[in-house]
Symmetry: C2
Subunit: 264 residues, 2 copies
C-alpha cells in the first residue's frame, strides 16, 4: 500500500490527542498514492497545551505540505491559519490545512461536507428535503451548515441544551434564510434523520431519539465512527430505512481532503 | 512493506536538508516492521537555521520516539541531547537519538560502527590489521574511532589538511594508545584501505589515492553511498581486492539503529 514512502515523500501529519484510533494515516495515504502523489499521512500525538510549539516546528519543516486536525485541536488550529474558507471562518474551526504560496496555512473544515457526501453516496436526497438533526455541538454545527449549503428545504435542530441551537441559528442566519428552526427529537414527518451527538460511542448510551417513531421512507445517518453499527442505525435498518454510518463519513472525507490538499 | 502504518504508529523522523535522497524511511521502517515494531521513519526537511524550533516540536510530540540525524545537523543536534554515548560525546556529534525515561534525548553516533560492520560483513578482518584511512573529516573521525575500538593493529590517517589528522590524533589519544599516526595516501603494505573523503561523489572527482599501488590481498572500503560503484572500488575490484561500498554501510546502520531505538 505505502510503497511510495521515500526520502522524497511529502508529509501530512494528523495532529490530535489521542491519535491512536485515527484512520487517515492509512486511508489518506492510500488515496494520495492512488492519485500518483508521494504523500504520507502520519499520526502525530500533540497534547492540548503543546499545539503552539508543534505548529511552529511543522511550519518550519520544508516537506510538511498539509496538516489534518482532530480533537482537541480543531478550534485552536484555526488560530494558526493566515487564511481560511468561509465555512471554516464561520465557526472558527478547521479540520485540514494546506500551505499558501508564501508557506502560511490555509484552513478548511470538511467534516460537514463529508457527512452530507456520505448520505448522498448512500442514496439520501438532500435538496428540498425536511431534515431533523439531533446535536448542535461542533459536528452538528458543521453538518447543519453543510445541509443548508446543499439545499435542504427545512432543517430542525434538537439539542439537550436549547441555547446551543439558538446560537447556531444566529450563526447560520444568513445561509439558513429562515430554513433552520429549533425543535424536539421526534422524527415524525421528516425525510432525513441525523444523529450528531456522541450517543452511541459507549455501549450503554441512551438512543439519541425514539426509534419507534421512525418510518421506512426515512433516511437515517449517524456521525459515530469506528464502532460499526450503532443501536440507532441497527433499529433504523430493521424498520427498513436506508442508512449511512460514521465510517462512511470518514471514507467520504478522504477524497475531499485529497482534493483540498492537491488543489483539485 | 509499510502495512503497519496506523494511528498507533510510533514516529522516527530523519531530519536533514536535503532529505530527498535518504534511504532510511524505507530501510529502517522495513527493519522495524520485521522486528514486529509499529514504527515509521519519515523524512523531515529541516533547514539549517530551523533546527531549534523543529526539535522543540518533535520533543513535544507524544509519539516521536526517536530521531535520525543527517547533514547539516549532526553536530548541532548533539546540543539537544541530555545524555549521549561516549563515542557521540567524544566528537560532539550524533546520528541517532532516542527518548530517555524522562522524555529527554539520548544521542549516539553509529556511522563509524556501521562502516566497520559493513567491512566485516564483506570479509574484512579488522583486529590487528594495518589500515590506511584517507579523510579525517566527520566521517573519517567516526571511522577512525570505530576501527580503534574494533582492535585495528595500526591506523595511518591521511588528509589533504594535516592539521585535521593532528587534531584527530589528539582526540583519539586515549583510545588510540599509540596505534594512530599521520601518513601519506600510499596504500603499499596495508591490509585495509578506506576512503572517507567525498571524492567519488562527483563524476570528475580525482581518485582519493593511487589505485595502481593497490594489490589483490588488500580489502578496500568506501563511504560514498547512493552512487553505485565508485571509481576507487571499480579499480580495486579489477585488481582483485575484496570491497565494501557506502550502500553497504547504509545497510549495516539500519540494524544498528533499530537495536539502538528498541534498546536491544
Amino acid at each position: 500500500m505505502l510503497d511510495h514512502l521515500s526520502g522524497a515523500s511529502r508529509l501530512i501529519p494528523i495532529i490530535g490527542d489521542p491519535v491512536r484510533y485515527v484512520r487517515s494515516p492509512v486511508w489518506l495515504t492510500r488515496t494520495l498514492g492512488a492519485r500518483g502523489h508521494n504523500g504520507i499521512c502520519v499520526p502525530l500525538e500533540v497534547p492540548v497545551d503543546k499545539l503552539g510549539v508543534v505548529m511552529a516546528g511543522l511550519s518550519a519543516s520544508g516537506n510538511v505540505d498539509g496538516i489534518l486536525v482532530t480533537m482537541p485541536h480543531k478550534f485552536a488550529a484555526f488560530g494558526y491559519c493566515a487564511t481560511s474558507s468561509p465555512r471554516a471562518s464561520l465557526f472558527g474551526v478547521v479540520s485540514v490545512m494546506r500551505r499558501n504560496p508564501d508557506a502560511t496555512w490555509h484552513g478548511d473544515m470538511l467534516d460537514g461536507l463529508a457527512f452530507v457526501k456520505a448520505q448522498q453516496d448512500h442514496g439520501a436526497q438532500i435538496e428540498r428535503a425536511r431534515a431533523l438533526l439531533v446535536g448542535a455541538g461542533g459536528a452538528g454545527s458543521a453538518i447543519a451548515h453543510a445541509l443548508l449549503d446543499a439545499g435542504v428545504g427545512e432543517l430542525v435542530v434538537h439539542d439537550a441544551d436549547p441555547a446551543r441551537v439558538a446560537a447556531l441559528a444566529d450563526q447560520l442566519a444568513a445561509v439558513g434564510a429562515g430554513r433552520l428552526s429549533s425543535g424536539s427529537a421526534d422524527p415524525t414527518g421528516f425525510d432525513l434523520v441525523f444523529n450528531a451527538t456522541p450517543l452511541g460511542l459507549e455501549e450503554d448510551d441512551p438512543l439519541p431519539l425514539d426509534t419507534a417513531l421512525l418510518s421506512p421512507s426515512m433516511f437515517v445517518g449517524d456521525v459515530i465512527a469506528g464502532h460499526g453499527m450503532t443501536p440507532l442505525l441497527a433499529a433504523a435498518q430493521q424498520i427498513g430505512c436506508s442508512t449511512a454510518n460514521g465510517d462512511h463519513m470518514v471514507e467520504a472525507v478522504q477524497d475531499l481532503m485529497a482534493d483540498f490538499l492537491l488543489h483539485t
